[in-house]
């Protein structure tokens, strides 16, 4: 009966959300306070109902109730409890419910947190959030219910896709969703500002933390997906420009543009329309990401649903969101005229403008490559894919420009930078960058991209170090403390700026990891019999033999390797091949990864013949761990900003 209770809860939640679209706005128009207050109860009730629905589904999973179709399709009785709970978002229907649950939680949180400060806009916020929630609930109730039963019930479930039985895969979707759904709050605030006509900077200030948090969650979600692909798929890489990867990357790119351009509005009251445009696009791309992944129109790891009805529904839903938001933006555009104009092309404003421009061009590039195959298929019935070389060739120059702007923008003056300002801030970094590129060239780095990246990394780091040194020595002499204490004071007085700069360093570290691991990657595929040895880079690998391996719900074999660096034993590596004991016939590959100081050694077992020969793919990925470190530093930067103490005077 539990699962029927869950189904009943989502149906009720759907009706409650529809009420949530109408009641608060009606309250605002009729100046009826009790109706407005009802809005807050509505989002809370909604959250409780959807939590109940998720609860019943988790309960059915834990009770191994295979009469529930979704449970039967995505788990079996041998599945460990941890993955049994995570199976909630392991398939199409459940992940939509989970998406909606996060949405309802965020809507309720936002309504309670911002209630006092924004009495005039909160009703609209509740209405918008309720509308999006209703859209997803309708999809769940009518087209994608995880509450369906099958009769007669099978005695055993299929299994959770073995590839998903991995910690990386358990955390990757929730983080992505937190990011996607998080952007709905700034979006709703923006729409509320448009609808209420209160188009000052309040909505941007109030959503600052939401934006940052969503952005970093999305960043982590994407990186976790990459890390999972790296060690679980056994192909030695972490990013393949797969349409589904692109689907999460597009909102990230535009979200990054938005994150920067709001600062211009806060400081200079410019870019008003532009910011509204960006947040609408960011949230729409989050929805598009869901659409691409969940509609099944793309053949990929993630596209499990193959029901065209769902695709059409999400398409209609998205068109409604786009029409409504851009329509409102156009109607309200007369309220958005500002007198302030850009003073000079050499200024921080224009650096932000160009940053935005390039991020949008990057997004358009990905958009084109991702959706062109769909377009051609729809129009001509021809199947094409856009190869990774397209993205690599087009994307890299754009990234380089964005990185240079990343070094320039924080240090250049607002309004109009003088020649003096530019020379003072950029002469030494320029020399530092060129000098280090020259040193690296002497020591044998000859490829163009690595050299340019070294230049940019040193240029940008130098600007940051010089800036930090100047400010902290100002503070140390100003209040008579030591230089380290000065650094603390500098950070303390402008947490947002220094948090942002730390994030920039994270980006640089990440890019160095990407460039290093792709430009200097070594790979080799070899066939070996026990006792054979092969060399890759400065390491030699000795294959000792194969042995059995087993876990709770899988059996497998592993190949045993001893790794030597110049005859010195450095590591033992055991790439595995697993067979899960569920309904799945698919073996999975567990790569063996040995982190060394300069990068990863990576072995992936491909095949074992009856005679005991194995085929193994070996990779050496220099600097690849810098990608994950970079993500960590970016997160640290965001934390530094989030834990900003509120100023007493405001």
């Amino acid at each position: 009966m539990m699962i029927e209770l869950g189904y009943f809860a989502v149906i009720t939640a759907l009706m409650v959300s529809i009420a949530g679209i109408i009641i608060p706005v009606a309250g605002l128009w009729t100046v009826n306070n009790s109706l407005i207050r009802a809005g807050r109860q509505i989002v809370t009730v909604n959250f409780l109902l959807i939590s109940l629905a998720c609860g019943t589904l988790i309960y059915s999973f834990l009770m191994r109730d295979f009469s529930v179709k979704y449970v039967a399709m995505n788990s079996n009785s041998r599945l460990p409890v941890f993955y049994t709970i995570a199976a909630l978002w392991g398939g199409h229907e459940g992940s939509l419910l989970f998406w909606t649950w996060i949405l309802s939680a965020f809507a309720a949180l936002a309504a309670w947190i911002h209630w006092k400060k924004h009495p005039a806009t909160i009703p609209y916020l509740i209405a918008i959030e309720s509308a999006v929630t209703a859209g997803f609930l309708a999809l769940i109730v009518f087209l994608s219910s995880p509450f369906e039963r099958i009769f007669p019930a099978p005695s055993e479930g299929m299994d959770l896709n073995p590839l998903l039985q991995d910690p990386g895969m358990v955390f990757h979707p929730p983080f992505l969703y937190l990011g996607y759904v998080g952007f709905s709050i700034p979006f709703s605030f923006a729409m509320a500002a448009l609808l209420s006509g209160r188009l000052g900077e309040e909505w941007i200030r109030s959503t600052h933390r939401w934006t940052l948090l969503s952005w970093i969650m999305l960043t982590f979600g994407i990186l976790m997906g990459g890390y999972w692909a790296y060690y679980e798929l056994g192909w030695g890489g972490y990013w393949a420009w797969d349409p589904v990867e692109n689907a999460s990357f597009m909102p990230w790119l535009v979200g990054t543009a938005y994150l920067h351009s709001v600062m211009v509005q806060e400081k200079r009251k410019m870019f008003k329309v532009w910011n509204l445009f960006l947040i609408i696009v960011t949230f729409s791309l989050s929805l598009l990401g869901t659409f691409l992944v969940r509609s099944g129109i793309l053949s990929s790891v993630h596209a499990f649903a193959n029901d065209p009805g769902r695709g059409v529904y999400i398409l209609i839903f998205m068109s409604a969101v786009l029409l409504f938001s851009f329509g409102t933006l156009i109607i309200r555009s007369n309220l958005l005229k500002t007198k302030i104009e850009m003073d000079s092309i050499v200024s921080r404003e224009s650096a932000y403008l160009f940053n935005n421009l390039f991020l949008l061009i990057a997004t358009a590039t990905v958009f084109l490559g991702t959706l062109y195959p769909l377009l051609v298929d729809t129009l001509y019935g021809t199947k094409v894919t856009v190869g990774a070389p397209y993205y690599n060739k087009v994307f890299m120059p754009i990234v380089l420009i964005i990185l240079i702007l990343m070094g320039i923008a924080p240090m250049i003056a607002w309004r109009k930078a003088s020649a003096e300002n530019i020379r003072r801030n950029f002469l030494i970094p320029l020399i530092a960058g060129l000098a280090s590129a020259a040193i690296f060239a002497i020591f044998g780095i000859r490829m163009a991209y690595p050299l340019i990246i070294v230049f940019i990394a040193c240029f940008v780091s130098a600007t940051i170090i010089i800036d930090l040194y100047k400010t902290s020595s100002y503070w140390s002499s100003h209040s008579g403390v030591s230089l380290p204490a000065g650094i603390y004071k500098a950070w303390h007085h402008n947490q947002r700026r220094y948090g942002g700069l730390v994030t920039h360093i994270g980006v640089l570290v990440l890019i160095l990891g990407i460039v290093g691991s792709s430009a200097y990657k070594l790979e080799k595929t070899v066939m070996l019999k026990p006792g054979d040895e092969f060399k890759l880079g400065s390491y030699s690998y000795k294959f000792l033999g194969i042995q059995d391996a087993a876990g709770i719900n899988w059996r497998g074999v592993e190949a045993l390797f001893n790794v030597y660096e110049k005859d010195r034993f450095v590591a033992e590596m055991r790439p595995q091949k697993r067979q899960y004991m569920g309904g799945s016939q698919m073996p999975t590959t567990e790569a063996a990864i040995e982190p060394r100081r300069m990068g990863d050694l990576y072995l992936s077992l491909s095949e074992i013949t009856e005679e005991g020969w194995i085929t193994v793919m070996a990779f050496q990925n220099p600097l690849i761990h810098w990608i994950w470190y970079g993500g960590g530093i970016m997160g640290l930067g965001v934390v530094l900003i989030l834990f900003k103490r509120r100023r007493r005077d405001s």
Partner: protein
């Protein structure tokens, strides 16, 4: 802001956008990879021989021949109507075996043999080229549920 500056910003944006647009579109055509079924590839015009394409179908039962102690293998790929021979060198993905769907990337050599060094890594057994699903070659999920109940 003076008119001159406005024009300056506008022109520089246009130039940059144009350059990048050229870069993007210029690289687009040559990086498009066409996807064919065995029937389609048989009717391919000779102009396309040697061009990188993908072909998808089912691996014919009993056709897979691995050449011992090499990374080479031969197999037949079918869409039900037509069958082509594939010569593959490399490491096939986990799911690759006889009787399942496969997508191979390579070139159609003189209209006789498909040479491939990459078989798409497919991450789920549910996955299969959409046109194969349409043709009903693979058992749909429904049948799987039925088999569970029996």
């Amino acid at each position: 802001m003076t008119k001159g500056r406005k024009i300056g910003i506008g022109v520089s944006i246009l130039i940059i956008a144009g350059a990048l647009g050229y870069l993007a579109l210029g690289n687009f055509g040559e990086n498009l990879i066409y996807f064919y079924t065995p029937s389609e590839i048989r009717t391919l015009s000779p102009d396309y021989y040697g061009r990188k394409v993908r072909v998808g179908g089912m691996v014919v039962m009993g056709s897979l021949k691995v050449i011992p102690n090499t990374l080479r293998m031969n197999f037949d790929l079918t869409d039900g109507a037509e069958t082509i021979q594939v010569a593959f060198e490399g490491v096939p993905p986990d799911l690759f075996k006889e009787g399942t769907g496969a997508v191979a990337e390579g070139y159609w050599d003189s209209g006789k043999i498909f040479h491939s060094n990459m078989i798409m890594a497919k991450h789920s057994e549910d996955y299969m080229p959409i046109e194969m699903k349409r043709a009903g070659v693979e058992l749909p999920k429904k049948d799987f549920i039925k088999s569970l109940q029996e």
